[in-house]
Amino acid sequence: MASISPPIARSSSPGATSSTAGTVELRNVRKAYGNFVAVDDLSLSIQPGKIYGLLGPNGAGKTSTLRMIIGIIVPDLGQISVFGEPLQRTHKDRFGYLPEERGLYKKMKVLEHLLFLAQLKGLSGPEALKRAQSWCERFELNAWTGKKVEELSKGMQQKVQFIGAILHDPELIVMDEPFSGLDPASTVVLKDVLLELAKRGKTILLSTHGMDQAEKLCHSICLVNHGRAVLEGDLNQIKAGYGSCNVQIKYDGDARFLQESRLVQSCNDYGNYVEVHLAPGADTQELLRLASAGARLSKFEVMEPSLEEIFIAAVSQPAVSQPNA
């Protein structure tokens, strides 16, 4: 699906830097530890109901950024606002946080632990119990609810931690490397749950250094490197901005559509297979209509640059690039 749809089509709010208040807004945020600048002049905007990925290599400042957003640490400079208001302590109950380094009380029983975490977020005891049981069922933990945390495997502890972060049904879910350490099956369950939560209108912010995962899951991203935003905004727009787009076409018949200089800048034709380098501003759909008018197509694929390629390209540029600004 994604391969044919035009880049712009999915974006709901084109101007990420426009005045529409996101669930989370960071403006020129800076955080330094002594001489080490972890986050430098970072601005980003996270729209409600979206999955937002904070990407970058290790030590890029992702964790510091997330910690500032949920108020564990305070920025040296800049503003952070959530739900349209400056960040306050009272917002804590509306966040769910999964830190990168998981931590639970080892001696506590799983169910008790979940209840404790949920009650800290203001959930009533009976309600917390009901939800905890249903989540444990979903993550296949119900046989373990009476066991102590230390008796669980690492992966199971991760699931407990994840449930703890979402049990109170938070509006904003912040997850630091949620997929690290999970087996493939659990990864799928977690991904499904995240998508489901986003569908229910929850805003999800996750950090990862796995570009693949982010590319599949996120609506918007922020690429950070050395504490600075390299790229920020709607994923498709970013790709379009980097879209020296190529299209691969397998065809049988009339190849006249390759002559359309309005759409095709150059091409490499093998007779029934062609790699088209699109002209700037060309609409892939127009090319598709034109091609299918004269030829039988067995393949039409828009070759977007991968996030990884974009990241490498962006990092090699000196200034912050905001393609949608």
Partner: protein, 434 residues
């Protein structure tokens, strides 16, 4: 408030539910009883009957020494009928000694006695020849060193007998001499709120020592528990999850109060156990039945004990916050033990002179206040403003330390590995603003 309560509850239940809590709570009183009774038992166990020989040229003199040594007049402890001349006769003679009188103070006899000591026929002899008495220096030769109490008992006996001798030689009758020799006893009476209170100084000291012991135990048992749990939260990284829900001050205060409640529960159980098992036995002992603790002192005990416990636990929490391993933490414990030990050293001077300027100031310093101010209250109620000031300073210190701790604690999530030095801690405190 909601969070604080949840955290207190969690900390409390986690500890109270453990098996080790149950075992410690039930067994410690037994162990303590054994520890307290054993030394006294051991001290008397090895004592055999001592067989001594008094060597003197006048048998009557030796006989008097023998009688008085075996039945010392007890006018130091006894209030009534000390004037009765037959006092000594009424006392049961001491069963721990057998004393013979030897009227042959010659060198040959001395050699014989030495042999007897070697062959264990006797345990020792007292050389009371005319020369020795005239020189004012007599010798006690025995196989073991005489106890301090034995030595002072002997010298008292000899002084009395010799003075009695001298007085009767100057023509006084035995009764007259006895009356002259009667020791004067000082009875101390303390004025407390306009009433006379008979002062059993021992009882006062006991009250203070009980408090200090309890404080010590509570601080050592539960202070370390606080430190350990702060370290656990930092090392298991649960701290970060908790901080997304609660403030570090809530976490810290909840932990201190929760662990504090555990300690109090334990002490309460012990007090009840003591009430059920030990009090009936104690009531038989006159020293304890005399001990009446006024309600004001009980209140002071509760207040200063609680605050002292909180203060020292907070210090333990601070150590937990700046270290990363328990070993490191234990090295720093030193800073907590020192003020505790110093307060104990101050006990004797406080009880002796509670209103001395130094003691007044010491009772204002928060680290010593729990012990010193409490001791002052026990001995003699100090001016109200002093108590109030001391309490105020103590509470302010606890609160200040708590906030400081909470800040360091929160910054703790950012560091691993090496223990920070002072400049680094100060720098963190700056980062941790707001």
């Amino acid at each position: 408030m909601r969070n604080l309560w949840l955290i207190i509850k969690r900390e409390y239940l986690e500890r109270v539910r453990t098996r080790s809590f149950l075992i410690l709570t039930l067994l410690l009183p037994g162990i303590m009883t054994v520890v307290m009774l054993l030394p006294a038992k051991l001290a008397t166990m090895g004592d055999k009957v001592q067989h001594l020989v008094v060597v003197t040229s006048t048998p009557q003199f030796g006989e008097m020494v023998r009688q008085r040594f075996l039945s010392p007049s007890t006018d130091t402890d006894d209030d009534e009928d000390a004037n009765s001349g037959a006092n000594a006769a009424k006392q049961k003679p001491d069963q721990k000694y057998v004393i013979d009188v030897d009227a042959n103070p010659t060198e040959a006899e001395r050699a014989v006695l030495r042999d007897k000591i070697n062959s264990q026929a006797i345990d020792g002899y007292l050389w009371l020849s005319e020369d020795a008495i005239a020189s004012g220096k007599v010798t006690w030769v025995s196989r073991r060193m005489p106890y301090f109490s034995e030595r002072s008992r002997l010298s008292e006996t000899l002084n009395q007998v010799i003075q009695y001798e001298r007085l009767t030689k100057h023509g006084l009758s035995g009764d007259e001499a006895e009356r002259l020799l009667k020791a004067i006893k000082v009875e101390s009476i303390r004025m407390e709120r306009g009433r006379e209170a008979k002062d059993s100084g021992g009882g006062k000291l006991l009250e203070v020592v009980v408090m200090v012991m309890l404080l010590y135990m509570a601080v050592l048992l539960y202070g370390i528990s606080v430190m350990r749990s702060v370290l656990e939260e930092k090392n298991s990284r649960i701290l970060e999850v908790l901080l997304s829900s609660a403030t570090s001050t809530e976490l810290m205060a909840g932990k201190l109060l929760g662990v504090g409640a555990v300690g109090l529960t334990q002490i309460l159980v012990w007090v009840v156990m003591a009430g059920v098992f030990a009090l009936p036995a104690m009531a038989m002992q006159p020293a304890f039945s005399e001990l009446q603790i006024p309600p004001g002192v009980l209140v002071a005990f509760a207040v200063f004990f609680l605050l002292g416990y909180l203060l020292y636990s907070t210090m333990y929490a601070a150590i937990g916050a700046i270290t990363t391993t328990e070993q490191e933490g234990q090295q720093l414990q030193f800073f907590i033990i020192i003020p505790l030990v110093l307060s104990v050293f101050m006990l004797a001077p406080v009880v002796r002179n509670p209103d001395a300027a130094t003691m007044v100031w010491m009772s204002m310093i928060p680290f010593f206040a729990p012990v010193v101010m409490y001791a002052r209250i026990v001995v003699q109620t100090p001016p109200l403003w002093q108590i109030a000031l001391s309490l105020l300073l103590l509470i302010a210190t606890i609160a200040g330390l708590l906030v400081l701790c909470a800040r360091i604690y929160r910054i703790g999530i950012l560091i691993y590995g090496k223990r920070p030095n002072l400049p680094e801690i100060l720098k963190w405190l700056k980062y941790a603003k707001a």
